[in-house]
């Protein structure tokens, strides 16, 4: 027997770590990984609420979140590769123009 709030607090901690990483990290790839961490935190609260309300739809939603995360990772990493090709850096401070 674990209270639902424990799961929610854990998911909140993971989400907060993701937000912190998004804000303090300077490497494009690490920033992207922080976004994945946020998505994982949200997924945990989806599954916990699915168990709480006894609805399987919550688990199906996690499935969709994973698919969208996979698509996002593919496109985002392709963008990172092309940014690196034009600027030769992954530091977000030096990527400050949309145009070359």
């Amino acid at each position: 027997m674990v209270p639902l709030s424990y799961y929610l607090v854990l998911s909140g901690i993971l989400f907060a770590c993701g937000v912190t990483g998004f804000l303090i990290k300077r490497n494009l790839i690490t920033i992207f990984m922080s976004i994945e961490l946020m998505l994982n935190g949200v997924n945990l609260s989806f599954v916990a609420f699915a168990a709480h309300w006894q609805k399987l739809s919550g688990q199906v939603f996690v499935f969709f979140v994973m698919v969208v995360a996979a698509a996002e990772a593919a496109v985002g990493l392709a963008i990172i590769i092309s940014v690196f090709r034009t600027r030769q850096t992954l530091n977000v401070d030096q990527v400050n123009l949309l145009k070359l």
């Binding site: 027997m1 674990v2 209270p3 639902l4 709030s5 799961y7 929610l8 607090v9 854990l10 909140g12 901690i13 993971l14 770590c17 993701g18 912190t20 303090i24 990290k25 300077r26 490497n27 790839i29 690490t30 990984m33 922080s34 994945e36 961490l37 994982n40 945990l44 599954v47 916990a48 699915a50 168990a51 709480h52 006894q54 609805k55 399987l56 739809s57 688990q59 199906v60 996690v62 499935f63 969709f64 994973m66 698919v67 996979a70 698509a71 996002e72 990772a73 593919a74 496109v75 990493l77 392709a78 963008i79 990172i80 590769i81 092309s82 690196f84 090709r85 992954l90 530091n91 401070d93």
Partner: protein, 173 residues
């Protein structure tokens, strides 16, 4: 009791991995600690009874997506990130504000009396998930399949070298 111990163990691994992701300076170390977080989250899903999601979490997230991340880190030869000076206002007001806010939210959640979850409270076998996915959620499922197709094409177009896109005739001339 065992449920609580397992929850706390997996949760501790999760939080340790997430904090390590923030603390590491080299992206490959961050990627590996993210794999640890995802593996421990799969354990949490199993505790909640979502066995199919636990398997998918390991295969898709910790397997496929993180392999792509590690692959890109090695492809771009990403080194340690440079240390930059943070803003003092963020340190003075942001950190205490965030701590107060999160403690407040945690306190409210702990005292809301939302009840507790048994171990394996809602079994999510592949059969039940598939019935929902291909019946109630058929339209979103098809839409995500189109989304993935577009994402694949977009990734190929974005990551292709500019010279590779041009026709080969110019090389012969």
């Amino acid at each position: 009791m065992l449920h609580l111990i397992l929850f706390l163990a997996f949760g501790a691994v999760c939080v340790a991995g997430a904090v390590n992701l923030l603390a590491q300076r080299h992206p490959i170390n961050s990627a590996l600690s993210l794999v640890v977080v995802m593996g421990a989250l799969a354990g949490e899903y199993l505790l909640l009874g979502a066995e199919f999601l636990g398997a998918i979490q390991v295969i898709v997230y910790a397997g496929a997506i993180m392999v792509v991340f590690v692959f890109v880190i090695m492809l771009l030869n990403a080194g340690e990130e440079e240390r930059t000076k943070g803003s003092r206002v963020a340190l003075l007001f942001g950190v205490p504000g965030m701590l107060t806010g999160s403690l407040l939210i945690a306190w409210v959640l702990m005292h809301s009396g939302m009840g507790s979850i048994e171990v394996g409270a809602l079994p999510g076998p592949p059969k039940a998930i598939a019935r929902l996915l291909f019946h109630d959620f058929l339209l979103p499922f098809e839409v995500t399949s189109v989304l993935v197709l577009i994402a694949i094409m977009g990734a190929v177009v974005l990551a292709a070298r500019p010279e590779a896109a041009q026709p080969k005739q110019e090389e012969e001339n």
